[in-house]
Chain length 403, copies 2
């Protein structure tokens, strides 16, 4: 059901020098599926990450935050079990996984970042993961990104990966990334899971700044159902094996490339949103500040009534206006708001535009992709987010998952 | 599909002296259905009301707020068209309806409160309403509450009405009310439409205070889909034809009766929620203040993942914990939260309770009614709200409505 999204061509995913990926079928929850990923990083690598703001953040998230203080040498990712809502026992289990990976890779447990995704509130089957580790380590290769994208899927129907190359002053740098996620998607600092690497040499501070900015412009600008996962994490690795990015200009070029890859991945998550049949860009302009534009955009994107109208391809525009009115923006004057569907002006000054004809709205919304654009007309700020519709299949997938 | 909800027995709805109701089939949107209600109030009546906080509040809401400054003599309610998102033209049309009603009832247009519900952003068909008015006025009777409840239905499947009698120091008082609403339900100060009347003599100030308090304990404590309507209104009339409520004790007795009727009506809206198959009470206890308890309760009640798990009768408890963690309560410690399904302790100190068995959760959630109870364990405040599940039929109803 993914909207204009195909599995990436593995040949187009550029390897990143200094970053190897290995996959295993560990049987975490189900047999015979890739469910374990190990990423080994060269000692020259710098790593930055942003994590979920959910107060029930998972044990691996707590541990990964702690382990980020040291230079990171490896990431271990399992699907099938989120190790969330598992208390102190969950922390112990996540640490056991780090220890086993550290033994296999000859580093310290504190240099391993653990990631888990899957069912919440069930004990992590550590033994199965540990048993699967040698297979994953034996599989470590730089040209393994597509297989890695497959290994981190849960309700995803399509693996998600993207890759670009940019020219810095001292040579060509590569940026490649993978992500997973289809439901429980309303990242707050990060997506379900996104891993991105560049071979460029980037200082820790610069990498951290870029990562935060990129997260806001990509994974923090998407929503499927407004539910922020307990396990969200977006990790950005600069392996240091390629050209250096130190000048302002190079950092800017590299940040743009990282944003490009991150946006492709984030949008892929929405295109593959649970039950999605539409990919919708929501752009809010002329607000007082970006925060209020985002607030309005999310109010539109989270309204079940708006989302079911998207599904129906029905330009029930009143629902969009009602959502804007509900966004909780102080002093917003409804009588100044203009609304567009793609390029069609459907509402002006808070009311239906006299020239608007229903057929125009239907034509826009029947397409698999379209843009809802709201003008608040009270400032110069803007924000863009991406979302999908709410279909029968969203309910089906989430009523049947786990049972 | 309504959950444990039947049409009220008209014989059990006590008339309120000084409040007459008349119904007509005006063909506002569809022919041959009751879609126009006139309520005539005795000159002795006091009226208080609370309205939607949606910034796109409808023309009739704007006008009703203005007209509330004068003693109210009549209410005119139409379904089929919300007269919302209609700008200045919508205000003119709402005023025309008030004028026509005032002519028919021999009062001032400024003494008529207009209410509209139905499709948003389409011009109100004033001529049809004006043509229907004589029929409604000719039908005015005190014993007409059930027919009135039917006349204000839109996607409701069951008319909603409730009635109680209480003894005040100077005699027996009656409280009777009707409401409508099934979708776009997350009232913020009021429900879609709720009209409640008592024959008790109550001062304007007292009535206003009671109305605000009652709204918070009833219509403001329910949610179907988190969408706040543009037309929400809750009106409370004290006709002054019955016993006086002036002492603190009498006011308390009367307020309790009004709360009782309002809660019955509010819960009826949830039981008849679009596509609802479950009626769920969400109670959050031991919070620092009521506001944070409500925040957590609404985070649970609005999560599409939690709502689809309700639909499936699947105790996917991690989704409830994740929703609590997302509520945006500062400093909330996940490791202190306990969670109950009815009387079953399912999670303790943020993790699954060791004694909890899946069958217990399934047994609780397979019932048409159950309670989710979260203990934050950081204070003494509590809050209760009522919600329903998210089913295939919610999507069906809202994808097909209007089209």
């Amino acid at each position: 059901m993914a909207v204009n999204l195909r599995a990436p061509d593995g040949a187009l995913l550029h390897p990143v020098a200094g970053v190897e990926l290995g996959i295993a079928m560990a049987g975490v929850r189900k047999a015979n599926r890739k469910d374990l990923l190990v990423m080994r990083l060269a000692p020259s690598a710098n790593t930055a990450a942003v994590f979920t703001k959910n107060r029930f953040c998972a044990a691996p998230v707590l541990l990964a935050k702690r382990h980020l203080r040291r230079p990171v040498r490896a990431l271990v990712v399992n699907t099938g079990n989120a190790n969330a809502g598992t208390g102190a026992d969950g922390l112990r289990r996540a640490l056991e996984v780090c220890r086993a990976a550290a033994d296999a890779l000859q580093c310290e447990a504190e240099q391993v970042l653990p990631f888990s995704t899957g069912v919440i509130m069930e004990p992590l089957p550590v033994a199965r993961i540990v048993t699967g580790l040698p297979q994953a380590v034996g599989d470590l290769r730089e040209a393994n990104w597509l297989s890695a994208a497959e290994a981190i899927m849960t309700t995803d129907t399509v693996p998600k990966a993207a890759s670009v190359r940019v020219t810095l002053s001292s040579g060509q740098a590569t940026v490649t990334g993978i992500a997973k996620g289809a439901g429980m998607i309303r990242p707050d600092m990060a997506t379900m899971l996104g891993f991105l690497a560049t071979d460029a040499k980037v200082g820790r501070g610069d990498l951290k700044r870029i990562t935060l900015r990129v997260a806001d412009a990509s994974f923090n600008a998407i929503t499927v159902d407004g539910d922020t996962s307990t396990n969200d994490a977006f990790v950005c690795v600069a392996s240091g094996q390629g050209p250096a990015a130190r000048s302002k200009r190079d950092l800017k070029t590299l940040a743009a490339a990282i944003t490009d890859v991150a946006q492709q991945l984030a949008q892929a998550i929405v295109r593959d949103g649970e039950g999605a049949t539409k990919f919708v860009t929501v752009r809010v302009e002329r607000g007082r500040n970006e925060a209020e534009c985002r607030k309005v955009a999310y109010a539109i994107a989270h309204s079940p009534l708006v989302k079911t109208a998207f599904f129906a391809g029905d330009p029930n525009l009143g629902r969009i206006l009602a959502a804007i009115g509900n966004a909780g923006v102080g002093g917003l004057e409804a009588s100044r708001v203009d609304l567009y569907l793609d390029d069609v002006l459907v509402a002006r000054a808070g009311g239906r535009h006299p020239a608007y004809r229903e057929e125009q709205g239907v034509a826009a919304m029947r397409k698999p992709e379209f843009t809802v654009r709201a003008l608040l007309n009270r400032g110069r700020a803007a924000a863009t987010i991406w979302t999908c519709d709410l279909s029968f299949d969203y309910v089906k997938i989430n009523a049947e998952y786990r049972s």
